[in-house]
Amino acid sequence: MSGADGPELVAVEVDSDVCIGVGQCELLEPAVFRVDDDDGMGVVIGSGQLAAERAAAVIEACPSGAIRIRAGDT
């Protein structure tokens, strides 16, 4: 999915069994994640695509380990 002009993009998803709604993802990548007001857990907004390097950072920062690269999208 790497474009000639931009960084390599990957798509991320939130494991709904693991997420506890800390909101670290929303703080780092507000265009990609939001803690849902009804469910109290993180959800991906839109395509869930972001630069691979930033995806790695948000995966590392999530305290509960709930974020992963979406299978088949890399």
């Binding site: 709604g21 800390v22 803690v35 509960s64």
Partner: protein
């Protein structure tokens, strides 16, 4: 043997040399405790390994404190802290959205107003007990505002919190029937009649909000309780207890240790005064330095292995954040208080996993606001003697801390 549980050890602060010995001993050290014992986990990497494997190291099978509880007590006292998935996930999601960074931002103006008021009073006095005048009142007023508890009751709830800290030590001053308690003490959190008082308070407030709901967390919780399957009455009671206690006592401890560290390291505070960009890293360093909660326990659900040591199903495994936060394998010069520390993976909110501190972003905001308001006043703190510490191996509490104030105007 290396003893890190005798409460009086903590009257002089964290026994860092003992934790260094635990870290430096290969494998895990078996630490005798009462009639049994536990595996002492003191290295940073090992704390993270335990914390992020909740299916192996359970919070719900046993108690998360060192001592064991009978089955009836475990059930009566069970809170969000002593629960595994899926119950933990359900409870956590009931409250998580209130504590996200986005939600916490909304409480910053109120926190700033409270901080300004308390610091102005402290400066006007010129000296005094920082715990009583700043560190205790600020976080309790903020968490009570979030919950929807009348702020006039803050002093009463701080009094209850103090008795709960006492319940983690070997000094207990309350009679069994204090606050009209008739519940056997072993069924109450920290074995304290103050828990009965906090339960009763939460139940009365919940009843009020049930008939007259407001835009606050207690109203949201009683609504969840009424909807049937999301929150039982006992869960509400224990959640209210945790939110009040953990929501004030821990940040009080961080603010107390932070102030003491800044008074003891004026060169470090000078750096923050000179550079606003150092407020955020200073907050993280205060958190590492303070380690408000010294340990949490897990119980092995199966035979397993950690750091080359075999652990049997049912063994207690205790994560000593006090040791991990000074681990030289995780921190450069760990015994140095450095407000500019670039890489600071402290475990003061736990080592990750499902029980990551619910109030992490609230605590960070509160500490940042206090540091920022101190900067605005050019406030320098000076020691006026030794702190009085809580004799507890669980809460790194400071009961009183006399400090002096000097101001040099805004930076």
């Amino acid at each position: 043997m290396i003893d890190v549980t005798t409460p009086s050890l903590y009257l002089d602060g964290i026994p860092h040399r003992r934790f260094a010995e635990l870290r430096e001993t290969s494998g895990l050290v078996w630490h005798p405790y009462e009639d049994d014992g536990f595996w002492a986990v003191a290295r940073h990497a090992d704390v993270k390994a335990v914390s992020t494997a909740p299916e192996i190291f359970s919070s719900g099978v046993g108690h998360t404190n060192l001592w064991d509880l009978d089955a009836d007590a475990l059930e009566a006292r069970r809170s969000i802290i002593d629960t595994d998935a899926p119950d933990h996930t359900r409870l956590r999601r009931l409250v998580s959205k209130v504590f996200t960074p986005r939600s916490i931002r909304r409480w910053e103006p109120l926190t700033r107003k409270i901080a300004a008021e308390l610091l102005d009073e402290f400066v006007a006095r010129g000296e005094g007990d920082w715990v009583e005048l700043v560190a205790a009142p600020l976080p309790i007023r903020v968490i009570l505002s979030i919950l929807g508890v009348p702020v006039d009751d803050a002093d009463f709830l701080v009094e209850l919190s103090n008795h709960l800290v006492e319940g983690t030590s070997d000094r207990v001053s309350l009679p069994d029937d204090a606050y009209g308690n008739t519940t056997p003490l072993h069924l109450l959190p920290f074995g304290s009649p103050a828990s009965h008082a906090l339960y009763t308070y939460g139940e009365e407030l919940g009843a009020q909000r049930r008939t007259g709901p407001r835009d606050d967390l207690v109203s949201a919780l009683v609504q969840a309780e009424d909807e049937g399957d999301r929150l039982s009455h006992d869960e509400y009671r224990n959640l209210f207890h945790v939110l009040v206690f953990a929501g004030n006592e821990t940040t009080r401890t961080a603010l107390s240790h932070g102030a003491m560290a800044l008074a003891d390291h004026p060169d470090q505070w000078q750096r923050v005064l000179a550079d606003h960009d150092l407020v955020d890293p200073a907050v993280e360093e205060v958190l590492r330095w303070a380690t408000p909660v010294l340990h949490m326990r897990r119980t092995a659900t199966c035979d397993t292995e950690l750091a080359g040591t075999a652990i049997a199903a049912g063994d207690k495994v205790v994560m000593w954040y006090a040791g991990a936060n000074r681990d030289p394998d995780a921190f450069a010069e760990p015994m140095r208080f450095d407000v500019g520390r670039a890489d600071n993976p402290h475990v003061s909110f736990g080592g990750g996993g499902p029980h990551f501190c619910l109030g992490a972003f609230l605590a960070r905001m509160e500490i940042a606001v206090v540091l920022d308001e101190m900067r605005r006043r050019g406030l320098r703190l000076e020691r006026r003697g030794e702190p009085v510490r809580a004799p507890s191996n669980f809460v790194h509490g400071i009961l009183s801390l006399d400090l002096g104030a000097r101001t040099s105007g805004a930076p």
